[in-house]
């Protein structure tokens, strides 16, 4: 076995171990990231599981060039989410019954939660696609701005600027409509 091939195998073995280590920390975050896009918790959980299987299948193509493995997982999550939305041909409106309720919620709380959910979703929808992605990866994916930059192909500074603009916009919309 030549050195290059041996290195390749050991690199893939190392990536497998790292992917396995990331599972516990990132499964929930990826599920939330997907949920923000599709507003369906069960489907978001299924897609989160699929992300790791897809990552495992594609490990050969993974190269650590500026994008850490967790960032790469979110790229896969993004692609699977887009596929899902395309397949469902779903408009990104949120059905009122998609908000999961606790058993002991009273009707007034339920209605309030639904209104809150629609209100935040509407505010998110008014962001540009890139701003929404920055907010989603930062708030739900828990990635740093540098890691988000790696995923989106932007500098950390550009991400921080987009992030501030996005939150100001959200604040403006939510503040006015509240």
């Amino acid at each position: 076995m030549n050195i290059g091939n041996r290195k390749n195998i050991s690199r893939i073995n190392e990536y497998e171990t790292r992917l396995s280590d990331l599972y516990e920390e990132y499964y929930d975050k990826i599920a939330r990231y997907v949920y923000v896009h599709i507003s369906n918790k069960e489907e978001a959980e299924d897609i989160a599981g699929e992300v790791f299987l897809k990552a495992l299948e594609s490990l050969k193509s993974y190269r650590e060039q500026g994008v850490p493995m967790q960032g790469w997982l979110f790229r896969i999550a993004h692609n699977l989410t887009v596929d899902y939305l395309r397949k469902m041909n779903k408009r990104r409106t949120v059905p009122i019954d998609s908000v999961v309720l606790q058993g002991n919620d009273n009707p007034a709380n339920t209605a309030e939660k639904n209104i809150e959910f629609e209100w935040v979703t509407e505010a998110m929808r008014q962001l540009t696609t890139e701003q929404r992605e920055v907010i989603n990866l930062r708030f739900f994916g828990g990635l740093t701005s540098k890691e988000v930059g790696g995923v989106l192909g932007k500098s950390g500074g550009a991400v921080r600027e987009m992030q501030r603009a996005a939150i100001e916009k959200l604040r403006g919309i939510m503040g006015v409509e509240r």
């Binding site: 959980e45 299924d46 299987l53 495992l56 998110m124 930062r138 501030r164 503040g175």
Partner: protein, 272 residues
């Protein structure tokens, strides 16, 4: 100025993501606190709206599926890729080495075929140690240090190894129905024919005199040949039973694997 603010806002978001509270960040940057507060409050509102905890059942099922796929890959990769990528002259050299290995030089085999399994609390395979009481009563303590555990796949030269998470066990605490789990993780599903443990040290303290004695172990390895199956969707617990016996009246003892009490069991009484 804006750049500074962007950086501070970014730092606060990182801190909140790590579990800090909003007030701490504001108090660290009093000059910016008026501007920061509404933005971080918006972040909190958005996170609160979308945050949910995925169902434990769905997560568990997804984890099992992932580890099964990982196990399958690991089962296939080392052997296949080894032959696929090896240059032709080296193939012959390797075949020669393998032939030698088969006819007698069994030392080489573990080097070629011993991928290491990764521990996981939710794994499908658990490895336990137990002790059949023979002469264990002679000891106040009998600490056995296990450096590696290996599984031999049935009908194949392939071996899988793992390093115990708990390396040293006191056999005096593991008599009869007692056992101690020393590793849990994911093993590829399939049929296995043998389990072996590499023992690096055995230190016994005699009950009668308090003297510390070395207990002999021929070749530092204990093996149990026994067919068993590992599946993806169940937890297979393999108990490896070890017993200590006196070799005569010379005050010497040896360790032996105890096949009768070893094997795959569904329920074990574990030590806390």
């Amino acid at each position: 100025m804006t750049e500074d603010f962007d950086r501070i806002l970014d730092e606060c978001i990182d801190r909140i993501n790590r579990g800090d509270n909003l007030a701490d960040c504001l108090s660290d940057y009093p000059a910016y606190s008026e501007k920061l507060k509404p933005l971080l409050q918006s972040m909190h509102d958005v996170q609160k709206t979308y945050t949910f905890t995925p169902s434990a059942d769905t997560k568990r099922a997804a984890r099992q599926k992932f580890h099964a796929a990982l196990g399958k890959r690991r089962q296939m990769t080392p052997v296949l890729s080894f032959f696929k990528v090896i240059p032709r002259p080296a193939v012959w050299a390797t075949v020669a080495v393998l032939v030698l290995a088969i006819v007698g030089t069994l030392v080489i085999r573990p080097i070629l075929n011993s991928p290491t399994l990764v521990p996981s609390p939710d794994g499908n395979f658990a490895f336990l140690i137990s002790d059949e009481p023979n002469d264990i009563g002679d000891f106040e303590s009998l600490n056995v240090t296990i450096s590696r555990v290996g599984l031999q796949a049935a009908g194949s030269v392939r071996r899988l190894e793992f390093t115990p998470e708990t390396k040293t066990v006191d056999l005096t605490q593991l008599q009869g129905e007692h056992s101690q789990e020393i590793w849990r993780g994911n093993a590829p599903a399939g049929q296995y024919s043998q389990v072996y443990i590499n023992v690096s040290e055995v230190k016994g303290k005699l009950e009668s005199t308090g003297q510390i004695v070395d207990v002999k172990l021929p070749s530092n390895k204990l093996r149990i040949s026994m067919p068993f199956e590992v599946t993806v969707d169940t937890v297979t617990s393999f108990t490896f039973d070890i017993t200590v016996v006196a070799t005569g009246n010379n005050g010497k003892y040896i360790l032996k694997p105890q096949i009768g009490n070893s094997g795959v069991r569904q329920e074990q009484k574990l030590l806390e």
